[in-house]
Amino acid sequence: MTSYLQIQDLHVSVEGKQILKGLDLNIQQGEIHALMGPNGSGKSTLANTLMGHPRYMIEKGNILLNGESLLDLSADKRARKGLFLAFQYPVTVSGLSVSSFLRNAYNAVRQNGQGEKKKPPSYLEFKRVLNEKLKLLEMDETFINRYLNEGFSGGEKKRAEILQLAMLKPSIAILDETDSGLDIDALRVVADGINKLAGKELGIAIITHYQRILRYIQPHHVHVMVDGRIVRSGGSELARDLEEKGYGWIKENK
């Protein structure tokens, strides 16, 4: 069965301020979407809302995964249903090693919620998968001994997010500004990593306000978001037009 995420007429406010004002978007497993828009247009708000951050209030609309509404589910349950968010600003958890965190998360997403607990994979099995993913992302093995995001450079944080994506194998992943703050070499490595993970099994929404990551990753669909709504959708040519003409052009032509 192909997984699909449906966002329907989504209205969201934060601390009384309305940010998303009727947003519709469908993402299927196997597709790559690019969601572009100027700073402050509500991209991170959308990402956090999809994942179930308690600070974001849904005023209207619905979010469905495989036809089932996610609105009443906490973030951990959404994750176990196959949703993933790579954060724009991943937080630090001091004293928690990347490996111990990943081990717990790896086991957790294998518990599908209801009923009996599945037996977690053995440590050796976990370690084997982890080493494979580290290699795939050209990451050093010692990386996993560090504390989660503590003292990580911008590039390391983004790579750690992609490593988590690789380990947890969601069906739909939202990547919030995974390209920002990266120099060109780091960008290439991260983009390579995403390309290696993309495929039939994974639906991706790449959120970005530049198009530069799209030189490395070919999206099937491009959406432009302005002021809490998607104002235009198209193929990858839309990204190119945006690069030439800027967001002003879209705003004038909406």
Partner: protein, 467 residues
């Protein structure tokens, strides 16, 4: 896994009681000259020690209750049994230990842990040590690991030479009390250059209601030697107070390395008022690794006197205070020699109205040049009701000292929880992982099995941390 029972993944595991009918002796409640004399007489002590006890008792009576630290108003010295002797002597095999007591330590997992990774074990039940063992090879190298009575009998010179030289009875009211009625504890001597590779462990168990436990520990690490001592303690739950008041004296001679680890998990009706102090001579290294999880009130400030050039001192502590608990803990570093360094790391977690206090003292004496000292206290408050405070006292008599003091108070952020939950972890797991991470600078110092089980224990304590 044996050590699981030491720390237990089920807190009710500590909460079982044995009958006191089989005790060899239990004195009357309350404290008097007669009781002090009776303890000394039953132990067949030499006259100097009887006198020492009586003088200590006199000092205890004179000395007012401390009016700082925690609330001591509910400590009733008349309601406590000062001496209870459960068996005839400290046995060398578990088979010889009376059956009900042996069962207790079995349930706590001690004999099993001993087989697996300890070089020696002392097990104290109420006032007396009921079991003592030491690996053969260490015995042959001249290592002594004994209860104080045996040490005094078999090695009177060395015992008397060091006993009460680090903490005299006049030090404080509870040191005086301990000096008057002390019974049980450990005596360790590690000869020059001997390295004790595996830890020596002492386990302290209070069984009956209103028992006072007053063990006395003296560890002498001779030049260039190394030893790691671990103590654990538990008691069943009663509705009235028990008192635990130990005195621990450590001596690390030139170049010795002495580590003392405590995992204190008394039930929540025990007053834990302990004096711990170490002397570190030239290039010696002393470490207190101290976890306070149980007790109603703990007042404990392990201190290290850096007496020789190049000595190093470290205290790493964790305090956890839940409902009705006050952990008033800290550390004291006294630099009296040049080129000495000290480091204090204090981590505390308060929950459900629990209170943690860090009380620390840093002293750099005149002539102690080039001292380096680093103090770091981090407190984590798990809810609005809970409290934490710090009382750092710093006296520096030398300009060349480099002193760093950092303190933080934190709460667990919504964004941290959300981040971990977005990876499939439940809210409780996310919460626990953040707290365990916070305590990691401590747990990483513990032998692996202890670290795992300490985390388990803390997770149990924190159950229901989320409203």
């Amino acid at each position: 896994m044996a050590i699981r029972e030491i720390l237990s993944d089920d807190s009710s595991k500590y909460d079982f009681k044995d009958s006191t009918d089989t005790y060899v002796y239990r004195g009357k409640k309350g404290l008097s000259i007669e009781i002090v004399e009776e303890i000394s007489r039953r132990k067949n002590e030499p006259e100097w020690l009887t006198k020492f006890r009586l003088q200590s008792y006199a000092h205890f009576l004179k000395r007012p209750m401390p009016n700082w630290g925690g609330n001591l108003s509910r400590v009733d010295f008349d309601e406590i049994y000062y001496y209870a002797k459960p068996s005839d002597k400290a046995e060398k095999t578990w088979e010889e230990v009376p059956e009900n007591i042996r069962n207790t330590f079995d349930r706590l997992g001690i004999p099993e842990a001993e087989k697996k990774f300890l070089a020696g074990v002392g097990a104290q039940y109420e006032s007396e040590v009921v079991y003592h063992s030491l690996a053969k090879d260490l015995e042959e190298k001249g290592v002594l690991f004994l209860d104080p009575d045996t040490a005094l009998r078999e090695h009177p010179d060395i015992f008397r030479k060091y006993f009460a030289t680090i903490i005299p009875p006049e030090d404080n009211k509870f040191a005086a009390l301990n000096s008057a009625v002390f019974s049980g504890g450990s005596f360790i001597y590690v000869p020059k250059g001997v390295k004790v590779e595996m830890p020596l462990q002492a386990y302290f168990r209070i069984n009956a209601q209103n028992i006072g436990q007053f063990e006395r520990t003296l560890i002498i690490a001779d030049e260039g030697s190394e030893v790691h001592y671990i103590e654990g303690c538990t008691a069943p739950v009663y509705s009235s107070e028990s008192l635990h008041s130990a005195v621990v004296e450590l001596i690390a001679m030139k170049g010795a390395h002495l580590r003392y680890t405590t995992i204190q998990n008394w039930s929540k009706d025990v007053y834990n008022l302990v004096t711990k102090r170490a002397y570190a001579y030239e290039n010696a290294n002393v470490e207190w690794i101290d976890a306070n999880i149980g007790s109603s009130l703990t007042m404990k400030y392990p201190s290290i006197y850096l007496l020789g050039r190049g000595a190093k001192a470290e205290t790493i502590s964790v305090a956890y205070a839940g409902r009705g608990q006050h952990q008033d803990a800290g550390a004291k570093m006294v630099h009296l020699a040049p080129d000495t360094t000290s480091r204090i790391t204090s981590k505390s977690v308060s929950k459900d109205g629990g209170r943690t206090s860090y009380r620390g003292q840093l002293h750099v004496g005149k002539g102690a040049s080039n001292v380096k000292s680093y103090v770091r206290c981090d407190a984590l408050l798990l809810d609005e009701e809970s409290k934490t405070d710090t009382y750092p006292y710093i006296e520096v008599g030398e300009d060349s000292a480099t002193i760093t003091h950092e303190a933080t108070v934190g709460k667990i952020g919504e964004d941290q929880i959300f981040y971990l939950m977005s990876r499939g972890l439940t809210e409780v797991d996310a919460f626990n992982m953040i707290v365990m991470g916070f305590l990691e600078p401590f747990t990483k110092e513990l032998p692996m099995v202890y670290a795992v089980e300490m985390n388990r224990l803390l997770q149990l304590e924190m159950e229901g941390a989320i409203g």
